[in-house]
């Protein structure tokens, strides 16, 4: 991150604006681009940590019995892998990193509404992350409850659950603060001419996400405080011996944690809605339906949490209602997929790295979504619930979906902020390795689940051995692809070919300004004269 590497620009880029250098010019900056990059690199660091834990888990599962670790270590590792991936990587990943980097520019603003609150959000995130990390090495050691912290186990285990959930509690506030900031910014700071129907679809998706962050995250916070109360004070809210109810905990947890899935996937869908039209040189098909379906998913998705609990002992009537609502939420996702595919029709398609990630997103997300129908139907869910089928399914949605969209966004947008780009050929090879490795790793898991292998199993019966080995080998291919992608990307950002204002021919506002952008983005406030996918006017506001 050395600003002097960049070619002199007509405008002073945000890299060498204040004259201040060093770490304080970053960690106390209120510039949305600097905060976006702070978020991006912190989130990437946690992602790589959790990837490493995931690879260790796969090595342990390579063969039955003990391979490299004991059951306590395994249980702690899958808990920490899940908690980091969910709370420190993918939830803050889109809004915190790319939302901050891109959204204000896309609406023609100089910054977000509350720049200092924005910085505070990153600080909260880092403080929460620090508490979580401290919890791994103090007290009874890393939590071994799974990232879901189900009671009564989480109330009984001797591991450091209280401190870990307190860390997650703090991280939750950073998410709420970002949500408030984004809703306000999108309402108040749009440039003249940036009407709601000219809003880029990525901004629409962040808008829907921000409401979920604001409305759902407080419930997680309360639930986590209740776990601490249960452990420290023994209040017994979830303890049947004291008149409590363990199933109530599951409701509270999933009232947040299911909508949280939409915090992870909605902005990813927004990224795909940006990339596909640009690389097809054709207006996105069904703009209004895609924008509307983001809101519909956020709204309906808040009412489906009970589908995580079909075996919990919840009433049959509740299962009827939650199963029905789950199928309802599938419809807007299907609408998006059909519109993306239609955008390709009669376009002029260029298969550069961002586009490959976007197209593979459609396939992997479709597999994740369609296997979700098996989990939404009451009869079939019973068999595959709590098995590797679920593990495979949600990795298809969150890694194949959100993860691949994030990689696409990295190739698509990071050159804008570094002024330089990656090399194309290694990027294609890395994509190919990841795509193949991904499918080997997670498709095997879904088959294992259909055959009955439960999840969170340290050891398993010999009948599950061959596919577990296949899955582990797949994870190595995936990891090689990931390393190649990052090396190529980071090398490109430091030493790659300089890019001009608009390397991809995009028609949204970020492509009208220099790369890297000046501190306050636009030399003068832009007046927007056309829609976000009107490529005949690409490069002008």
């Amino acid at each position: 991150m050395n600003p002097s590497d960049h070619p002199p620009a007509v405008f002073t880029s945000f890299w060498n604006d204040t004259g201040k250098t060093g770490i304080t010019s970053w960690i106390f900056s209120t510039d949305h681009k600097r905060i976006g990059l702070l978020y991006f690199w912190s989130v990437l660091g946690f992602f790589l940590t959790a990837v490493l834990l995931g690879l260790l888990l796969r090595i342990e599962l390579m063969a039955p019995g003990r391979t490299i670790m004991g059951p306590e270590t395994y249980n702690a590792l899958f808990t920490v892998h899940g908690a980091i991936m969910v709370f420190l990587f993918i939830i803050p990943g889109f809004p915190g990193a790319f939302g901050n980097l891109v959204m204000p520019i896309q609406i023609g603003a100089r910054d977000v509404s509350f720049p200092r609150l924005n910085l505070f959000s990153w600080w909260l995130y880092m403080m929460g992350a620090a508490v979580i990390i401290i919890s791994l090495f103090t007290g009874g050691g890393p939590p071994d409850t799974g990232w879901t912290f189900y009671v009564p186990f989480s109330a009984r285990t001797g591991t450091n659950v209280s401190l870990a959930v307190f860390g997650v509690f703090i991280v939750g506030f950073s998410s709420i603060v970002t949500g408030v900031n984004f809703v306000t910014t999108i309402h108040r700071l749009r440039a003249p001419g940036m009407s709601w129907d000219r809003l880029p679809l990525f901004v629409w998706s962040l808008y829907a996400t921000a409401w979920v962050q604001i409305l759902a995250t407080p419930i997680l916070g309360i639930t986590l405080v209740l776990i601490i109360a249960e452990r420290v004070l023994g209040v017994g809210l979830f303890d049947p011996m004291k008149g409590g109810d363990p199933v109530m905990y599951q409701h509270l947890f999933w009232i947040y944690s299911h909508p949280a899935v939409y915090i992870m996937i909605l902005p990813a869908m927004g990224v795909i809605s940006e990339i596909i039209p640009v690389f097809s040189r054709k207006p996105v098909f069904g703009y209004k339906m895609i924008a509307f379906s983001s809101i519909a998913i956020a709204a309906a998705g808040s009412l489906v949490w009970g589908h995580h609990m079909f075996t919990s002992g919840m009433s049959d009537r509740a299962i009827l209602v939650f199963s029905f609502l789950t199928f309802v939420v599938a419809i807007p996702s299907a609408i998006k997929v059909f519109n993306w595919v239609s955008t390709l029709y009669r376009g002029s398609i260029s298969l550069e790295a961002p586009m490959l990630y976007a197209l593979s997103f459609i396939l992997l997300f479709s597999i994740g979504g369609l296997t979700g129908l098996i989990l939404g139907a009451a009869a079939t869910d019973i068999h595959v619930h709590d098995t590797h089928f679920v593990v495979g399914h949600f990795h298809y949605v969150i890694f194949g979906g959100s993860g691949f969209a994030l990689f696409g966004a990295m190739h698509y947008w990071l050159p804008k902020f570094y002024g330089r780009r990656y090399a194309e050929k290694p990027a294609l090879i890395a994509w190919g390795l990841m795509f193949v490795g991904f499918n080997i790793t997670y498709f095997s898991m879904m088959v294992l689940g259909m055959k009955g292998m439960p999840r969170r199993y340290y050891d398993y019966l010999p009948e599950f051995a061959p596919l577990n080995l296949v899955s582990t080998v797949g994870s190595w291919i995936l990891a090689v692809g990931l390393v190649l992608m990052l090396v190529n990307l980071i090398r490109g950002l430091r030493k790659g070919e300089p890019v001009g204002n608009n390397p991809w021919g995009g028609a949204t506002l970020e492509w009208t300004i220099p790369s890297p952008p000046p501190t306050e983005n636009f030399p003068e406030e832009p007046v927007v004269t056309h829609g976000p996918y009107d490529f005949s006017k690409a490069g002008t506001p």
């Binding site: 059951p71 069904g286 519109n339 396939l363 479709s366 009451a378 079939t380 019973i382 709590d386 010999p462």
Partner: protein, 316 residues
């Protein structure tokens, strides 16, 4: 699908799997096929400029909103009908109570007989009442597509029917700590006549009552009888063995005797055997039960494992 016509749980669930997977496969092939075709046909090398500026089509949007809606409503309906069959226990089902604890299963029958494996008569429906003593567990029979959580303080049940005699896997599906993946046993479906003999055979009392108690309280989930490593120390040759324990943070070595064994069962957190996690829950057993178990250890302990030997061990 009339739930009353369903004879087994697997017959209720499998057609739903086929229907949803079939429909999903068609959709996936359609989406992927269209995507690949468009990418080839409209690749920039063949189509240097887009030949359409269409921004949408109301009729297409209506079609691809309505058709998926109808499709998912059909999935919902079949899924629900199949689920009802899992909940409606046929009349005349044999009732068994499953008790789950960290990390073992115990099954008790109406006549008081208990077993670490779930013996059932083939061809007869079985209703399993689910009881958890400590944390959440999950009663999962993959072969019968049946799963239900065991929740402390809550009455849950599941039913299934094995049409053929045989041995079927029974897993704990709800994460319950260190021994979660070791918390497995089997359903043993016997021909009905053989099952009746098994059910009414009193284990010749006095032969190994200590071992029966160890099975009853699930001790064998974590402690083996044959010296194989499990989550806790093995019972093989335990009497008089010298062990290194950690007591209030300090290590000491002692010999396994009556006071030690009583403490290890009644207050397991007092002395933790070195190298093992401090996770055993206290078992408030009656005095005569303690005496029986300790007597069993004293007598040289386990006889060679018979048909009740642990399946997991056998397979290894």
């Amino acid at each position: 699908m009339d739930p009353n016509l369903i004879t087994t749980t697997q017959a209720a669930v499998d057609p739903v799997f086929k229907f949803i997977f079939g429909a999903c496969l068609l959709l996936l092939v359609g989406i992927t096929g269209a995507m690949i075709w468009f990418v080839i046909r409209y690749h920039r090398s063949r189509a240097p400029e887009p030949t359409s500026t269409a921004e949408g089509n109301v009729w297409l949007e209506i079609i691809w909103t309505v058709l998926p809606t109808l499709l998912v409503l059909a999935m919902f309906y079949y899924g629900w009908a199949g689920y009802l069959a899992l909940r409606n226990v046929p009349k005349g089902a044999l009732e068994v109570t499953a008790t789950a604890r960290m990390w073992s299963w115990n099954f008790t029958y109406a006549n008081g007989k208990s077993s670490p494996k779930l013996y059932v008569p083939a061809g007869k429906p079985v209703k399993v009442n689910l009881v958890a003593t400590d944390v959440l567990h999950g009663f999962y029979l993959p072969a019968f597509r049946v799963k239900r959580d065991l929740v402390p303080g809550m009455k849950n049940y599941a039913w299934f029917m094995a049409t053929k005699s045989g041995s079927y896997d029974l897993f704990c599906s709800q994460y319950c700590g260190t021994g979660h993946s070791a918390m497995i046993t089997t359903v043993e479906a016997l021909p009905p006549a053989e099952f009746d003999v098994w059910l009414n055979r009193r284990e010749s009392a006095g032969e190994q009552p200590g071992k029966e108690l160890l099975e009853k309280y699930g001790c064998l989930g974590c402690h083996s009888l044959d010296g194989s490593p499990k989550i806790g120390p093995t019972f093989k040759g335990i009497w008089g063995r010298s062990v290194t324990v950690v007591t209030a943070g300090a290590e000491r070595t002692l010999f396994v005797d009556v006071p030690y064994l009583r403490r290890a069962i009644l207050e397991p957190k007092a002395d933790i055997v070195k190298g093992f996690p401090p996770i055993m829950p206290a078992f408030p057993l009656k005095d005569e039960e303690l005496t029986t178990i300790i007597g069993f250890f004293k007598s040289g302990g386990p006889a060679p494992p018979g048909r009740d030997g642990d399946k997991h061990e056998e397979r290894k």
